[in-house]
């Protein structure tokens, strides 16, 4: 049961600095027809809301806002639902404070 207030995560990510590595996604979702429970959990658990459901009901990832926490790896790598790496050196999120 979720009692969430509407939160715009995009606004939060807007505070951050990123060095995007175009065309090199460091996380990939395994192609599927119906999402597994793990993939569904990622829709809510990812703190940057990188995972989203597309119109035909599959889970997709956009890594641009990723803050590299590793939560999705802990939930979804063992089952093979996702492949997870760090971005290339120097790319990704650049924390000013951390």
């Amino acid at each position: 049961m979720s009692t969430d207030v509407a939160v715009r995560v995009e606004d939060k990510l807007f505070y951050n600095r990123y060095q995007v590595d175009p065309g090199r996604a460091h996380i990939k979702v395994r192609p599927h027809t119906t999402p597994s429970p793990q993939l569904k959990a990622l829709l809510k658990a990812c703190p940057a809301r990188c995972y989203e459901l597309n119109d035909s009901g599959q889970v997709e990832i956009t890594v641009d806002g990723c803050i590299e926490c590793g939560t999705c790896r802990v939930i979804g790598e063992a089952s093979g639902d996702i492949e997870w790496s760090y971005p290339r050196g120097g790319y990704g999120v650049l924390f000013k404070f951390g």
Partner: protein, 435 residues
Amino acid sequence: MIEERFDAIVVGAGMAGNAAALTMAQRGMKVLQLERGEYSGSKNVQGAILYADMLEKLIPDFREEAPLERHLVEQRFWMLDDKSHVGLHYKSDDFNEEKPNRYTIIRAQFDKWFSSKVKEAGAIVLCETTVTELAQDAYGKVIGVRTDRRDGEIHADVVVLAEGVNGLLGTRAGLRERPKPENVALAVKEMHFLPRETIEARFNLKGDEGAVIEAAGTISRGMTGMGFIYSNKECISLGIGCLVSDFQKTGETPYGLLENFKKHPSVAPLIEGSEVKEYSAHLIPEGGYNAIPELCGDGWVVVGDAAQLNNAIHREGSNLAMTSGRIAAEAIFQVKSRRDPMTKQNLALYKKMLEESFVIKDLKKYKDMPALLHNQSQNFFLTYPQLVSKAMQNFVRVDGTPKKEKESSTLRSFVSARSWTGLFGDAFRFARAWR
């Protein structure tokens, strides 16, 4: 390919990696340190409380130049229900000492400074370099690393894995398992900027004094978790974290919890009017003693969060990271000085020295706590905070009800929520896990 061979390669320039690289470089070893961030600290997130003692052992005069925020004179613990907090506050002028014991820091800035000390000591520090794999020989001995920068391998006698909580390389090489959802917490954090005077007025501080608040209760909605509010010079660090397994189970969102925490009537006035400048997230190892993996093997040791060395009960991690990094480096130096090979058997000296330090002793003390809090999270983080708030309100509200009736009504609410056996059981289990 880097042709030269190093005495040691350190993966990661966080608290553990910097401590290890510094210690080995100070002893004249040839050290290469690799960090994936733009600079040391650009990927790192912490509350952040720095414990002086462990840093002093590495850099005795750090107070003269390290970027420190405030020295802590006050610790507050809050138990929250939706509208109230019951607090235990400890503030003492004793903490205004010549060499204060705890400081708040900002990790990105602190790590950058720490890294400059590592370089001064003579280590080669390569940033913007992600290590992709450990290089192993036919027998499984770790002989170096591969990176995304150059083709080929870089070789060293020993690799110090200071890669943080995710510990990707160790998992990939089969040295340890990936962290389990019930053994790591996901924390989200924001940096709220306010004028210095405003922070000092709101927290009742003077000069560089600082205060920190740890908060638990209904803010985690029955999940095992905690919030924190730390005062820095010109900003407030505010965040909340809960076990990943609980997020997975409940479908709560981390940013939803954060927003609710910020709106709590005890919290909102502290950050009112602030400008948020960053939103970050990071995992925290919470599995404790029972989650510690193998600490060394042929050609490698693992230190800090990557080895799950984190005391979640006391919110200590950076000090365990620094200490394990230093001890590993000292053990490696001893093995090297004897001209012995970096085998698992010889590197077990690190394990032995760590067991004799506070790091393993403290984690052992609380070994049953993670499981207890996890299994009883509804009671400890939802039911009890609500009951305690009700009891306090009953105690302070003056409405003509005789005190005797008030007391028995408070008692009844505890017993009906948890039953006598439940109450005694929880108290007993908690006391035993604390012992």
